[in-house]
Amino acid sequence: MSEEILYFDELPEELPPEFEGTLNAWVRAVVTDKDGNVEKHPWQQSRSFVQQFLQGLEALLYQTDVWTVDMGGSSRLIRFSKYASPNQWMDGDAGVANKGLLVGTDNTAVTVTDYDLGAQIDHGSGAGELVYGVTSFLAPRAVGANMDLYISRVFQNSSGGLITVNEVGLAVTTEITAGGGVFLLFAHDLLTVAIANGASAAIQYTLRTTV
């Protein structure tokens, strides 16, 4: 994987032409310290839809059950989502740390076969933990020749110490043929942000299609 990753203070309406025709993704952190001061990190080019993302699309588009790997590393058969099944929800509630936007401390390079974060940070206020807020969305909107889907989650540090995030991910829940739900990692990115005790960080993803 190339080391050259693009950054923007704000995502431009007109992206470099090489992004035309693709679904691209961008990620950043916005840190708010205990006094309310806000520090916006630049948007960083995401490098990493992993294998489960296309397998999830396959289940949606092809009306078929699809083998994939859940966040525990087990092979699972996604149930073709037809009627009233939980199909690929990412909207994790506050305190829910197994879907939606997730954060971790590992900085191992991302691979296409990643199925979990390297070392996910748990939800909570104990040492090394962050309080997971709600994963929220803005409905897709046209921005010039782009469509943007915005996903965000706030992580509050009440642990008593500094916590450094080195990785982020997007995970969904879905249903399997054996019954019940499983969790699937769709994207994994390396992103470093230090969150002091008493501070919070909003991690934000923008998924963008560009004509």
């Binding site: 190339s2 992993v50 993302f53 588009l61 092809y62 083998w67 929800w89 969305f137 409905a139």
Partner: protein, 213 residues
Amino acid sequence: MTERLTYDELPEEMPERFQGSLSLWTRVNIHRDGKLIEKGKWEEGHSFVKNFLYTLYTCFGHAYDYLAVNTSGSVEGVESPAVNEYTFRATDAAAANDNYGILLGTDNTAVTLSDYVLGTKIAHGVAATQLSYGAHSNNFAQPDGSNVDLVLIRLFTNSSGGDITVEEMGLVCYQVEAVGGLSKYYLLARDLKNFTITDGDVAYVEYRLRTTI
């Protein structure tokens, strides 16, 4: 606009600019009397349209009845999982169905983000200017090197009595409400193509979605 790439075969190692993205590729192979007579190149697709992200949004964001423009130009809700609603976004239409899946047309108007339908769809049939729409086939999305590929293929047979020149192709998904049975069709991608299907020939038309790390 950047130059569109073409490949005889999609390389395992993609150019750097595709890293981190979901890219779209198209290819057309022409067969005559059961034999391949013209192998097309993979061409870079350029065009997920608005409804593609709407579809992802309803899946990921748990958004019910998100309003989008269907292929008839009407505004309808893209369904998310909920009681009494089917949730799939099928693209694997059966033979003879020209409402969804891979569709072909004759219009060459530039693609825009707001496109919701092909400019001029070629209808299914054997009459003049029509093509027989075949069934779809697909692969299973598995990692290959740093990529994961998802492939959808449809066959189009020209039994119209004359040559037909195709100028556009699109991918349309289908939903149906469990109660009431209302069918809904949404354009996900549209691309300009230019190829001719001679009377009696069969075109194998492929879309390939590829994620690259």
